[in-house]
Symmetry: C2
Subunit: 327 residues, 2 copies
């Protein structure tokens, strides 16, 4: 399964995702043609829309009234816009060359234009949230606060081989899982879910998001750039501490060599490729997959407070499909 | 008068500005000490808080009920947070070394951390706007949409000596005046002003903002870095087309030399200093001041729909003080 197959899986909410897509494209229209062009460069590249899918499914899983679906769609659009904004900004600081199979915005349009477009998409995100309640703006804003905190923590541990596992989980809980959790909470909130349901869906999102990031970490090691839509080994080159790398350093693989690669600011290509091969061939990849599977299980257990429904089943299928990517 | 004197002028709303200040500092607290430190680096440097002052004065000038002042303060905090976020991002792309008399955030903390802190402040801005109405979120979001459009237009005309005056005004209307206008509109809106009053205060903000940017342009030529809190001649070095420069190229000053400086991507220091001296000694500076004064007049004329009040008088005093900086 490749990244793009995700778009084909609509988890039974294809109609709603189509509306999310159209609203997304409308949301970045502006009087500045170049602003719209850059935003569309990012949005039209697709991406998995997994956060919007979670939002819509959560809405339905708590029995949301279809007449209020528009608010779940607006929330999904807001989350995806802000997510896309952070991707543009991430690529600037990570010097990423490819994203979703396309050259990154800052490489094509320059740092200035990419940065401003990211800001524009941030603002559009909150504009789409304007008709939502204070509570839902709070949920979204706090998720992005956690995201920023996760990014900062990641930066503190960059190129540092002695990172403890708890810090790794804290980083990915912030930079990835917080937004998954917010998507699920927003869907449940607008679907009229009670506090217990909203909290349960929040946990579902957190665990699914952690699994998602672990799989992303694995793919950085095991995939090829065609399937991945971006270059392989980026995390290692950038000094991002990923799960397979952390496991490898603590078990079985030549710790000295890996630590050397990690600690170097400028990593020679050959060293990086060597490290990737070593990790790829070690048992750290299947172990990482097993850990991701545990988080998927936690995610699905969180749903136990919900009544059985096709949408609950789809949420389970969605989280399981996250790990299927890594196999 | 130096930039910092602005803080001392409270335009009769010192109490409210103090509350804005305290709320601002509270707003950037986070679980990530470095995130808070960087945000405070920018916020605690002060700045003129001219946008919050306009917001509060507009609230009072339409006869806002003191019991609703908290919403004007929240709106002012939101605008100032988002404004500060764009400053951090601007410095990254302009490679600014100083801001408000301090080393810029990205120079002190690195591009990654500065960029993420900017995003964090964006989000906090909208979080502070959460209790405001959809209408006020729309006003703020649209202003920042105009801001992004202005930034993009400026980028298109960078290093291009043939920029027409209309395009210059369009750029500064977007990148600066839109937020001044939003501040005034937000104050009037939360003060319960009618449509005519909100529109009038929006125009006041637009014109005052244009005057403000023209004065900023002038100071980049005539000031010294101690007074300015950032290095002089930055705009020319960066290829930003400013009013004194545009006037100088169309009148009296050695057009060929200036065009050469403008069109060069890497501008030799000597050439830049030469250009600054030429513009400084030309009549383009007093002419720029005269144009800024015209915009101040337009700003104050916009207030004619308001009943006379001490706050209306303070708004007039505020816009006039903008040009006083350039003299």
């Amino acid at each position: 399964m490749t990244m793009n197959d995700y778009v084909a899986i609509d988890f039974g909410v294809g109609e709603e995702l189509k509306e999310v897509e159209e609203t997304l494209q409308r949301s970045v229209r502006s009087d500045s043609p170049i602003l719209t062009e850059i935003a569309m460069h990012v949005i039209a590249a697709g991406g998995k829309r997994i956060r919007p899918a979670i939002c819509i499914l959560a809405f339905k899983a708590v029995g949301g009234d279809p007449r209020n679906m528009h608010s779940a769609i607006d929330a999904a659009v807001a989350v995806e816009l802000i997510h896309s904004a952070t991707l543009i900004h991430d690529d600037i600081t990570d010097e990423g060359e490819q994203r979703r199979g396309r050259v990154t915005a800052y490489r094509k349009y320059g740092v200035h234009n990419a940065l401003v477009t990211g800001d524009f998409m941030f603002v559009q995100g909150f504009k789409y949230g304007q008709f939502l309640s204070p509570e839902s703006i709070r949920i979204a804003a706090e998720a992005y606060e956690r995201l920023a905190e996760g990014e900062m923590l990641q930066e503190q541990w960059r190129n540092n081989p002695s990172i403890p596992m708890e810090e790794y989980i804290k980083i990915i809980s912030g930079k990835t899982a917080s937004v998954f959790s917010a998507s699920a909470q927003l869907g449940a909130f607008h679907g009229g879910g009670n506090d217990e349901q909203i909290e349960a869906l929040g946990s579902y999102g957190t665990y699914a998001g952690i699994a998602f990031q672990i799989v992303d970490d694995i793919l950085d090691i095991t995939s090829d750039s065609n399937t991945l839509g971006k270059s392989v080994g980026n995390d290692i080159r950038e000094g991002n501490m990923t799960l397979p790398l952390i496991l490898a350093m603590n078990d079985g693989v030549d710790r000295k060599l890996l630590s050397d690669v990690v600690a170097k600011r400028n990593k020679p290509r050959e060293l990086v490729e060597n490290a990737i091969r070593m990790i790829r061939e070690s048992r750290c990849v299947p172990r990482s997959i097993a850990i991701a599977e545990e988080y998927v299980e936690l995610a699905n257990e969180s749903l136990s407070v919900l009544e059985p429904s096709p949408f609950k089943t789809e949420l389970e299928r969605l989280s399981s499909s996250i790990v299927a990517r890594a196999r």
